[in-house]
């Protein structure tokens, strides 16, 4: 920008360039704010609509009769979600972590590639397809809808998340740690179990939390496999309710009081998912610091 003298000006940025700098910065900030708007709007909306429904009854009573729907609660949905997601977690997490270990520690041959492919495909499978698959396999075979079937349909969705995320975290454990353990005369399995996994520790927990967060909100597969229930059920072979399912049901009814309860359910779900996602992030940051 300096004229003919050839000397370089060391002064502050001025003129057209300054305007461009400021303009671009403003643009970026605007984009960021706009991106945040939907999330904050949803959050506020759900909170405002649902906060009124949260009450003692809401958390401890089953749905009430048609005469006084607002007196009822959805305790069976919470217990049901706990049961279904619990079953799913107990199955998906060990299988997922084992797959993650296999892929990270032994994973170069054709078998590993196949497993990885399956995981990525399942990751993008529409949840209703998972539900339909388990319906055909389990519901038809057992003859009834069940929490077990519900759990299994969630396994289809959770397992790839756990497997892929654990592989990623385990790969991040520096190779030198494995070498150090092997050189000490530790067999490979002990190296993985006692050195690599503890080091990846928080990362593995993060993988699990992300999978659970996903599972909590799934509605379509539960619809086809667990069916739902107005009463508390603890038998895994019987139809069971779940929070997202209940929200779906109540949203479709014309009863105003039930809408309010549905918003309450949505709020609880949102809070749970946000909590898991944020905790996962915090843990992940701490994990990164530890491995640096």
């Amino acid at each position: 920008m300096s004229a003919t003298s050839g000397a370089v000006s060391l002064g502050p940025v001025r003129g057209v360039r300054h305007v461009k700098d400021v303009g671009f910065t403003v643009f970026l900030w605007t984009c960021a704010v706009l991106a945040l708007v939907p999330l904050t709007w949803i959050a506020f909306y759900v909170v405002s609509k649902g906060i009124g429904a949260l009450s003692w009854n809401f958390f401890t009573k089953e749905p009430a009769g048609p005469l006084n729907p607002q007196e009822g609660g959805i305790v069976q949905s919470f217990i049901g979600t706990g049961l279904i997601v619990g079953i799913a977690t107990v199955i998906a997490v060990p299988l997922g972590i084992l797959a993650g270990i296999y892929l990270a520690e032994y994973g170069k041959g054709p078998t590993a590639s196949a497993i990885r492919l399956v995981a990525y495909v399942l990751l993008s499978t529409p949840s209703i397809v998972a539900g339909a698959f388990i319906w055909a396999l389990v519901v038809v075979a057992l003859g009834n809808f069940s929490a077990l079937a519900g759990g299994l349909s969630l396994v289809v969705l959770m397992w790839p998340i756990v497997a892929i995320a654990s592989e990623a975290v385990l790969r991040l454990v520096p190779q030198e740690l494995r070498e150090g353990a092997l050189a000490l005369g530790l067999p490979r399995w002990k190296t993985i179990l006692r050195v690599v996994m503890p080091t990846a520790g928080a990362g593995l927990l993060t993988a699990v939390m992300l999978a659970v967060a996903r599972a909590l909100g799934e509605t379509a597969p539960i619809l086809l496999t667990a069916l739902g229930n107005d009463f508390i059920n603890t038998d895994f072979r019987a139809p069971t309710d779940a929070v997202p399912l209940r929200v779906y049901d109540y949203a479709r009814t014309p009863v105003e009081a039930l809408h309010s309860i549905a918003w309450g359910g949505a709020l609880v779900l949102l809070a749970a998912v946000l909590f898991l996602a944020i905790s996962a992030r915090v843990l992940s940051n701490r994990q990164q610091k530890r491995m640096a």
């Binding site: 170069k108 520096p174 030198e176 740690l177 070498e179 150090g180 353990a181 092997l182 050189a183 000490l184 005369g185 530790l186 067999p187 002990k190 006692r194 050195v195 503890p198 080091t199 520790g201 530890r290 491995m291």
Partner: protein
């Protein structure tokens, strides 16, 4: 009575032939240095001594490595057992981040499957830390995580960890190359002290270090042994011109 004897050792990474017909002898209580330019195969060679080379996918070894007369590559020899008697310290210190200083030092003992009492463990841990010259600096903070020590201290912790399982041979793969000069000299001093009780093989790209620290020196080039002799001879009147050119800095 030779502690370690390498007979006609060849090694490959896949189809890449990286070590050609290596022969080497290490007597007990001696320090043998392996020197040579980057890529000459010195790290590969030392990793063949405790069967770490084959941990890399596609890596292969032929030839014999005799440890107290027994070939460690024999059919019925377990690599894990070999590594408990031939220990290794790496270029970059690699203490286990989830363990405390004492737990790091005793890791090889605790995870060995052998049941050892806690008091015995602490005693052996202390001995190893003393032998590594680290005890005085950490005795008041044994429960702190291993990662909080300085680079030189971490490396000495890794040496303590290797010593705690009481191996007979210690392999050092450029143990000081990531450290500052003062820490480097401390490690060299340590090697001098350790050679009374162990047989030591050290890979180094620092010739002066090899000169200061070792009794025998092996000079390698392109995966082959060029010269192997007493350190004093290699650095005053080497037999091979290539050795002379390397140690005088004419190439490398």
């Amino acid at each position: 009575m030779r502690k370690v004897e390498i007979v006609d050792l060849n090694a490959w990474f896949g189809s890449n032939h990286v070590l050609h017909g290596i022969n080497l002898t290490a007597m007990p209580g001696s320090v043998t240095a392996i020197i040579g330019p980057s890529g000459c195969g010195k790290s590969t060679l030392i990793r063949c001594l405790n069967r770490m080379h084959e941990e890399v996918r596609g890596a292969r070894v032929e030839g014999k490595v005799l440890f107290d007369g027994t070939d460690i590559y024999g059919d019925d020899v377990d690599p894990v057992a070999v590594r408990r008697r031939i220990g290794m310290v790496f270029q970059r210190a690699n203490p286990f981040p989830t363990m405390s200083i004492l737990d790091n030092a005793t890791a090889g003992l605790r995870l060995s499957g052998e049941r050892i009492q806690r008091s015995k463990l602490a005693e052996r841990g202390e001995r190893a830390l003393q032998a590594a010259g680290l005890w005085d600096e950490v005795k008041d903070r044994l429960d702190e995580p291993g990662g909080r020590l300085s680079g030189g201290q971490q490396q000495r912790l890794c040496i303590a960890r290797a010593l705690a399982v009481e191996p007979e041979v210690i392999l050092l793969d450029e143990p000081a190359s990531a450290l500052d000069p003062a820490s480097t000299l401390r490690i060299e001093e340590l090697v001098g002290n350790l050679k009374e009780r162990y047989t030591i093989v050290i890979v180094t790209h620092n010739m002066q270090q090899a000169a200061r620290v070792s009794d025998w020196t092996l000079f390698m080039l392109f995966g082959e042994v060029v010269e192997f002799g007493p350190t004093e001879k290699v650095f005053t009147t080497p037999d091979d011109k290539r050795t002379e050119d390397y140690v005088t800095g004419r190439f490398g």
